[in-house]
Symmetry: C2
Subunit: 141 residues, 2 copies
DNA sequence: CTACGTGCAAAAAGTTTGCAATCGC
DNA sequence: GCGATTGCAAACTTTTTGCACGTAG
């Protein structure tokens, strides 16, 4: 049976408190504040477990590693906005509508993912204050 | 100056011959047919080089490692269809149109990626012949 | 007490890099 | 000949797994 452990609770707490999808590393760092001895493996094991239970959802964007968010914080059908400057991911409400007929004849569209790229409001504002455009964060891998 | 090597030519050939985006591993395997001693590092180095030159493009789908295709085979603005049964990726022509106003106020949309998921025509046909649905290919990582 | 959970370290998988040998030009 | 390029192995990153110990119920 599933037990209640300090580490699992802390992971839940961090995810509930986040306003956006978090990477396993961000979650690990966040949990270490309250449970310093937690290992990254425990984070991964719990993410998988919570995912199976449907308590959290994974957010996978093109070319990025998976992020995770509490399912109850995720809106129904939504998409994501990826700020190319601060590298954060936001949910966006809208959807261009059903795209069942974009696919060639014979293809069945079950689901779709849409990712918008650009500059978030915060970074757009910062750009005014500090017009020096630094190219990305160079975070490879 | 850039030299013409057997390995680089072979990589170009494999990409040109492919009807779909290929993973570095698929490219490596394909090139080994004509240049057996090629190492995977050479594949990666050349992919990066060809990418910088704009000769090829990378196709990054959510949760997947990058695939590559010859730029001249890629259509202008297009999106991708990922068959969840055979795991192959196809290009689709259409686009639901500009989605600049999906993002919250203050956000600027520069680009977008759309991925459709479902069953390709071939797999849909095969399903009729062999209705047994096998759950995915289990390719993790 | 006992099975589930954890920490740690090692293993996988994918990608990058250092280095000496090789080969195009 | 010289420098771009390669093969190999080692390094690195992210995620998974083995194992002995810890702990919730």
């Amino acid at each position: 049976m599933e037990r209640s452990t300090r580490q699992r609770s802390a992971i839940r707490t961090v995810l509930e408190a986040a306003a956006r999808p978090l990477s396993p590393q961000e979650i690990h760092a966040g949990v270490q504040v309250s449970v310093p001895e937690i290992g990254i493996a425990t984070v991964y094991r719990n993410l998988k477990l919570l995912l199976d239970e449907g308590e959290i959802q994974s957010v996978t964007l093109p070319g990025e590693n998976a992020r995770y968010e509490a399912a109850r914080l995720a809106h129904h059908h939504h998409h994501h906005f990826h700020c190319t400057q601060c590298d954060r991911v936001f949910e966006v409400e809208g959807c261009p509508g059903p795209m069942h007929d974009l696919a060639p004849a014979g293809f069945t569209v079950v689901r779709h993912d849409l990712t918008l790229y650009g500059t978030c409001a915060e970074c757009a504002g910062a750009a005014v204050a500090a017009p020096a455009k630094s190219r990305g964060h160079g975070h490879r891998h």
